[in-house]
Amino acid sequence: MGIKEWLFSKLKKPLVSENVRFSYSQQEILKDISLNIKEKEIVAIIGKSGSGKSTFLKLIAGIIPKQKYGKIRIFGMPNFLGKNKVGFVPQDLSFIPDLSLMDNVRIAGLNLGVKEKDAIKRASELMKLLKLDEDMNKKPNQMSGGQKVRFNVILSLLHDPQIIILDEPFVGLDFLNRRLLWHFIGSMKRKKKSIVLTSHLLTEAQEHADRLIILKDGRVFFNGNLEKLKKKLKMNFIFEVKFSKLTKDSLDKIKKFCVYKDIKILDYYEKYFMFGLQKEKNKNILLKLFDKLKLNYKETGFREPNLDETFLKA
């Protein structure tokens, strides 16, 4: 990296979005999204399906032509001019099935503006990091699902981008493959890359990401770490019970009581209940209610919430 580029990367923030709004077919998908992603940071964007996560990532990567309002800047430049600094890993496997791995690397490299020789060299480095020791003359269809996902990641990073964007990279991966990918993302962070990803695996995101961003109805509902989120949601404990019998009348009474006492029912299915509590003493309040209703129950858990449960509250 030359001095000019080094200075440039220090002075300018890797990724900034200001009041980004986007509509599709008169439906507003994103409303005023303002974010700032720093160098050497892993940011996980979470949200329900349809909350606008992928749309936001595609806007950053310039895949969706242009947002209607707001700015997205990559190292101070408009995003469409900074495409070479971004490596976008699409959710769907994006390689050419009729070509060998080697040819796919060549084509993907050229598409990213990298010489064929350099692309192959970089691909071998990335393959080592992602433990993808495959014959390059193979075709992608001869690989397993996990290998395909890793290869998909490699094809997006052949130009050694400063910002790595991964759209649901863990979908369909088993535990070992997910761990491997998280390690890889960590190694990229150590190489001073900025990483933005979306995921439904909230517990893992909480474990590995430096920052969580929750999108809700096209807006940033939360931006920070898990502790901050717990505080915001006033939910520090999870209490789980299983009733031996539960009438409709008792169910209605529990629901009303929870609304009155600001206790969140995070989940219930038949006789199983999961409550989100702000204070430990709320558990006793609930137990008293169960006794009053003459309900037989069994406590199945009382603990701190993980991200999935916090997300339920959100």
Binding site: A61, G62, I63, I64, P65, F80, K83, N84, V86, F88, P90, D92, L93, S94, F95, I96, P97, I107, A108, N111, L112, G113, L155, S156, H159
Partner: protein
């Protein structure tokens, strides 16, 4: 056993139902499936098989007699345009070459005199022999149009013959009745002799064909053989490139390659690469066709620059059209149907199979602005006459680029 048959029956029904449901749910499939036969059958019924049409024909009437005027005024299916006598034939040929008129006729001096003398007359017919379908039509159409006029002449001849034979017979009867009156006898014998002589001298060619149409191509006769390339090449390129480029865009969409393209560069670079790739394919296709025509004995003398221009024009046009089809189609099947729905009618009214001159005026006008006809004309200009290509193609290309750009803006690239 019964249960097994029933189970297989249910499966069979399920597979049928699946395909029907897909046909109905995939609206584009359904619309194209209905539209394709409608367009082709409609074109055939209302445009390609006309009962009543008129072809503009330039006439050089050097005879300028009432009979020659009558001959052309009554021509069935032709609209005569009488030209000035000065340099008439040269002008006629120039007008055919420039496409102002489709056909020319020259009536020489003595046309009506010959007919009156019961001798064969001649009409020279000039036509564009590089216009394949029209040239084939003209070989019989002129003769069949002259038929009523010729029938009139033969009818007139028939009555003259009857008149003269009956005069000869009455003369003979007179001789038999009044053979004693020597003065009148000599006179009658001379009359009979004259009538029989005129029958004897009658031109038998005239009996078969009172007007001989001498059909002369305006270009070298060899050119007709060579001209096929100017039709086949653009038509084949249209079919092949439309299908290949549209399905290639769909393949790139399906394999996620377009997502990678969009995340790294402007789609215009991708489009440019597509055009260059298909230009190479068009060129390869052209070489194969050219080789075959040359083996067949055709010869060409076109400039390399003109050829490059032509190939680039055809490749830009066809591949951009294919890209548009690829962008608006959801799968390869729809793209192929779309390509057919565009290429097939264009081919039918391109003048290869049906002469453009016989089509209804609106279709003729449409034919002039349709891209395939324009490509054929341009191919003729470059490959047969070694002329450059008009700049109009740039407007075609610009128009298509605008459509593609608009589709990209509408995010049809995803």
């Amino acid at each position: 056993m019964k249960e097994m048959f029933l189970s297989r029956g249910r499966k069979f029904y399920g597979y049928l139902k699946k395909d029907f449901l897909l046909l109905v749910k995939r609206r584009k499939y359904l619309y194209l499936f209905i539209l394709l036969p409608l367009i082709i059958a409609g074109l055939f019924l209302f445009a390609l098989n006309p009962f009543d049409y008129e072809i503009d024909v330039g006439v050089c009437d050097f005879d300028s007699s009432p009979m020659s005027t009558q001959a052309f005024s009554g021509l069935n299916g032709f609209r005569p345009v009488f030209l000035e006598e000065e340099n008439c034939v040269d002008n006629l040929i120039l007008m055919i070459k420039s496409g102002e008129i489709s056909l020319g006729m020259e009536i020489g001096e003595g046309f009506s005199q010959n007919l009156e003398n019961l001798e064969q007359s001649k009409i020279v017919v000039y036509y564009d022999n590089t216009d394949i379908a029209f040239a084939n039509l003209i070989s019989w159409r002129v003769d069949s149009s002259l038929e009523p006029f010729e029938r009139g002449i033969i009818d007139s001849l028939n009555s003259q013959l009857k008149e003269r034979v009956s005069s000869a017979r009455s003369g003979a009867e007179f001789i038999l009745e009044f053979n004693s009156v020597s003065g009148k006898l000599e006179e009658k014998v001379e009359e009979i002799d004259s009538d029989l002589k005129s029958i004897e001298n009658m031109n038998t060619e005239f009996l078969v064909n009172p007007i001989w149409t001498d059909k002369r191509p305006v270009y070298n006769a060899e050119l007709k053989k060579s001209s096929g390339i100017a039709f086949i090449f653009p038509i084949l390129a249209l079919f092949v490139i439309l299908m290949l480029s549209s399905t290639s865009v769909i393949y790139d969409k399906k394999t996620g390659f377009l997502t990678r393209v969009k995340s790294s560069t402007s789609p215009m670079v991708y489009l440019f690469a597509k055009i260059v790739f298909f230009s190479v394919l068009v060129f390869a296709q052209f070489l194969i066709i050219l080789l075959l025509f040359m083996l067949y004995g055709s010869s060409y003398s076109f400039s390399l620059l003109g050829l490059v221009e032509l190939i680039v024009f055809i490749a830009i046009f066809d591949s951009l059209f294919g890209v548009i089809i690829g962008l608006v189609s959801n799968n390869e099947g729809i793209a192929v149907l779309f390509s057919l729905i565009i290429a097939f009618p264009l081919m039918l009214i391109s003048g290869v199979f049906f002469p453009i001159q016989t089509l209804p005026d609106a279709v003729q006008y449409l034919g002039k602005i349709l891209p395939l006809n324009y490509q054929i004309l341009t191919s003729k200009s470059v490959l047969l006459f070694n002329q450059g290509i008009p700049n109009t193609w740039m407007y075609f290309a610009a128009g298509l680029f605008i459509v593609v750009w608009w589709l990209i803006k509408k995010d049809k690239f995803s």
